[in-house]
């Protein structure tokens, strides 16, 4: 579009910005609404009443204090995962490996949790969290380094590292780190020491507090620091970043490390806060829902919180929905997939709403850059 005769005008300047912000929120919100409508149609087709199903769903997620704490429980690791994926997106990297990084964080936090006994909480919890986060970071650093120095695409390497992490953690939980309590036959680690369990702070689980703090920290890092500026510049235009003296390689590794750190921390929080041990299968799907959340939040770290809560509500309310309306709780996965579909293929929503393509920073699902 040509702007003939545009002059310096602060009003236009702020209008462009506000419009940009409103614009950024329209597509995600519309995507959720459309996904719920399509989901309702599917529920109706299966012979149930969508209104009954949805009201049970939200009652089960928000209806009572217990329901809400279940939602928070579900949302906590999702926030970490969503932040991890968002941060990588900011640098133009598609971290599909949040799942694997999260598993590595979860299993290593469990190890610190059960193998050390008698440490005070003030030491045990930070240590377990840190080790979990670091293992996640190391796991992601493999993909980041491969990308930076050989150009291997992070989508491929992180997917493959996911499989390695699945099998490695399975083996650990069924082998060297297996819970040897008499009578136990399932693959799981011993329970973590009570001192390593995350407490509630004035009635609020420590996990969600950490998640919200992490969101604020990531927001600050991205928008208020020079490191964030470098990350974003590499993500938006790698050749301009190089011109500006930014090392694309360094930022690629750094972004993956930070992303893996967050995912690993999410896994550790899940282990220490909810599950109490590492048990394969407990965290499956978290890393993938994290991708949905990152896209739904348009990679905005603060928006990751409501996006995670929304999905948390749906997951927490799923069984109530099944109980009240007879709709299989798997419909939630269908709705989540529809949300992802509409957010990723935002052209559909734009056409429905007659929106123009947006200006401002874009999320690049995949960049071809390497070295």
């Amino acid at each position: 579009m040509e702007r003939a005769g545009s002059q310096f005008s602060p009003r236009m300047d702020s209008r462009i910005q506000i419009w940009g912000m409103v614009h950024a929120a329209i597509v995600p919100i519309a995507s959720v609404v459309v996904a719920l409508v399509v989901g309702a149609a599917i529920i109706a087709l299966s012979g149930a009443n969508p209104l009954v199903a949805y009201s049970a769903l939200f009652e089960g997620g928000l209806g009572s204090g217990r329901a809400f704490s279940r939602t928070l429980e579900k949302a906590t690791p999702l926030i970490f995962g969503g932040l991890a994926v968002s941060l990588a997106f900011k640098c133009g990297l598609f971290n599909i490996g949040a799942q694997g990084q999260l598993l590595m964080g979860a299993v290593s936090a469990a190890f610190i949790g059960f193998s050390l006994q008698g440490l005070p909480s003030a030491l045990h919890i930070p240590l377990a969290l840190l080790v979990g986060a670091l293992l996640g970071a190391v796991w992601a650093a493999i993909a980041g380094t491969l990308k930076a120095f050989t150009g291997a695409h992070e989508v491929i390497t992180t997917i493959m590292l996911n499989f390695v992490a699945f099998n490695l953690t399975d083996w650990l939980a069924d082998g060297p780190w297996k819970d040897r309590t008499p009578g136990n036959i399932v693959a799981r680690t011993p329970a973590v020491a009570p001192e390593a369990r995350l407490p509630d702070i004035v009635g609020v689980p420590l996990g969600i507090i950490l998640a919200v703090l992490a969101a604020i920290a990531v927001w600050w890092l991205i928008w208020r620091t020079t490191i964030g500026f470098e990350l974003r510049t590499v993500g938006q235009n790698a050749s301009a970043a190089k011109y500006a003296g930014i090392s694309v390689r360094r930022m690629t590794v750094l972004a993956m490390v930070a992303s893996g750190f967050l995912a690993g921390l999410g896994g550790a929080v899940e282990t220490l806060g909810v599950v109490g041990r590492f048990q394969p299968g407990f965290n499956v799907g978290l890393g993938f829902n994290a991708i949905t959340i990152a896209l739904l939040a348009r990679t905005n770290p603060i928006a990751v919180i409501p996006a995670s809560l929304l999905i948390g509500v749906m997951q927490a309310g799923a069984s109530r929905m099944q109980f009240n309306s007879g709709v299989a709780s798997e419909i939630i996965d269908v709705i989540l997939a529809l949300i992802l579909f509409f957010v990723a293929a935002d052209g559909i929503i734009r056409r429905v709403l007659r929106l123009r393509a947006e200006e401002g920073e874009r999320v690049t699902l995949s960049s071809g850059r390497g070295s």
Binding site: R3, D13, T233, N237, S239
Partner: protein, 525 residues
């Protein structure tokens, strides 16, 4: 051939508004059979909007379009193709891994039952090539073609769809002078066979060379119509900009000081490992502008990349202020005070999605006062931006507007503002005014001379001989990766430079080829 009297295309009182902007206001135009109508205007004057309306990419808010006297509603490119309108965009719409023939028939495939009939297509393409002197091999892959050849493919694509009204949007922006000449020959053979051409440009010389009639747009309105016979460069520039424009750069004598940039037998390889810069040695002194003249693709791009740390130096040394910076990182070189206006401003010089303010600190964001430690100081960044926007006359709604919303000339002013506002003694400017409007060119030229007068060493690389001659104190001519001659600008002639750029040895310039030399350089700018 002179224009006929049959009107093939007419636009009446077209108005098109965008949020906050009137892109076209009551624009009317007539296109006669067999003529070249040049549409002249600065970036942002509304030329492209008007053409997109004719091509069906936008729809006008009011006004009507008539084709051969019939009012039509063009609601998409397929409509316009049906009406015989073909458009060659500034950025080509070709599939690089397809052959020429495949690209041309794409969307209008010749079939034999359910199968592609490429042979029939090939025959037709050869026939078209012969008719219009559009020399191109139908079986070549587009990725292997030069930019000029790709443009020919685009033109054949339009002709293949039986277009007899061709819209060429800034067709020469990407061409070498020779390719421009060839394009003009093609355009003449098109009009000789009854096709009509709308030629969009902001290059005055070209418009005067090729057009039958010239229409000038300014700020969305038609401000005048003229012919090459009545108009001069100066009169056209004044119509475009709306005030009188200095065509020459006023500059006093240079007072060269100590060498700031020294290249000592620098050799650089391109991406495929070819020696594209071959043992280049030169010195740029404080207070002088050294211009590197040469046809695009003779190693200038790689030379600049090597000096600024973006490409490895294969052998030789680069010194800035006497310090060896060979193969230093771009950051370190930038910190020696080397300002760099990169050749590809969209790709390298700007992050289009960033605000004007962020782009103005793209390479200084980490230094005080823009950052304290790792924390950005947004207030300082904004103040800096507001100051530069005013000082460098950047036309933007404000510092927080994304730079993508700015016109080409204003984008370049953002880069110029950023680079010239840094403390530095060396300025490397590559194609600083390519593709931008006259008003901005004038401004940027003045700033570059001002830098020199304040004692900076300036290395200017430009494919536009006029620019090199107007600004430089000394001119080095680059050909096939070598500096073939360095001349004082005062005594260098256009003919001499043209010959050197074409590869003639400085000592044996034969007199009979001077006329050719003139033809080559004429199309510049």
């Amino acid at each position: 051939m002179s224009a006929g009297s049959e009107i093939v295309l007419e636009a009446r009182n077209i108005t098109k508004r965008f949020p906050g902007v009137v892109a076209n206001e009551n624009v009317s135009l007539k296109l006669y059979r067999g003529e070249v109508l040049a549409l002249l205007g600065e970036n942002g004057a509304g030329k492209t909007t008007l053409m997109n309306i004719l091509y069906g990419l936008y729809h006008q808010d009011s006004g009507e379009v008539l084709i051969r006297g019939e009012p039509v509603r063009i609601s998409g490119p397929s409509d316009s193709i049906r009406h015989g309108i073909g458009m060659v965009h500034q950025h080509f719409m070709l599939v690089p891994v397809f052959t020429v023939a495949e690209n041309i028939i794409l969307g209008a495939e010749t079939r034999n039952g359910p199968f592609l009939d490429l042979n029939a297509a090939r025959r037709q393409i050869r026939e078209l090539s012969r008719q219009y002197n559009l020399d191109v091999d139908p079986d070549a892959y587009v990725k292997d073609l030069s930019v000029g050849q790709q443009q020919r493919v685009e033109i054949i694509k339009a002709l293949y769809r039986k277009a007899d009204i061709l819209i060429l949007d800034e067709p020469t922006a990407v061409l070498t002078p020779q390719e421009t000449e060839e394009l003009f020959t093609i355009i003449r053979s098109l009009t000789a066979r009854g096709a009509s051409v709308i030629f969009i440009s902001h290059k005055l010389k070209e418009v005067l060379a090729i057009a039958d009639r010239i229409m000038v747009l300014r700020r969305g309105r038609v401000v005048g119509e003229t012919t090459p016979r009545e108009a001069t460069e100066r009169s056209l520039a004044e119509m475009m900009v709306g005030r009188s424009v200095m065509m020459e750069v006023e500059k006093g004598e240079a007072h060269p000081g100590t060498p700031v940039l020294t290249l000592d037998r620098v050799t650089v390889l391109d991406d495929r490992g070819q020696r594209v810069v071959n043992e280049v040695s030169l010195e740029v002194h404080a207070g002088e502008i050294l211009g590197i003249a040469g046809v695009q693709g003779n190693g200038q791009t790689e030379l600049v990349e090597a000096i600024t740390g973006l490409r490895p130096v294969h052998s030789g040394r680069v010194l800035i202020n006497g310090r060896d910076v060979t193969n230093a990182s771009p950051r370190r070189i930038s910190e020696t005070g080397c300002a760099h206006v990169p050749e590809d401003r969209q790709e390298d010089g700007l992050v289009l999605t960033y605000s004007v303010a962020d782009n103005l600190v793209l390479n200084t964001y980490y230094t005080p006062p823009f950052a304290r430690g790792i924390v950005r100081n947004d207030r300082a960044i904004l103040n800096h931006a507001s100051r530069l926007i005013e000082r460098y006359d950047v036309r933007t709604p404000g510092p927080l507007t994304p730079v993508s919303a700015l016109s080409g000339g204003n984008k370049q002013k953002v880069i110029i503002a950023r680079e010239l506002s840094r403390e530095g003694r060396l300025l490397i400017a590559a194609q600083p005014t390519r593709g931008i409007d006259v008003g901005s060119i004038e401004f940027i030229h003045q700033r570059i001379v001002a830098e020199r007068d304040q004692g900076a060493a300036v290395l200017l690389v430009s494919a536009e001989l006029d620019e090199i001659m107007a600004l430089s104190d000394r001119i080095a001519v680059m050909y096939h990766g070598k500096i073939v001659a360095t001349l004082p600008a005062a005594s260098a002639t256009r003919e001499e430079l043209g010959l050197l750029m074409a590869g003639a040895q400085p000592t044996n310039v034969p007199h009979e080829t001077i006329a050719d030399g003139r033809a080559t350089v004429k199309a510049q700018r």
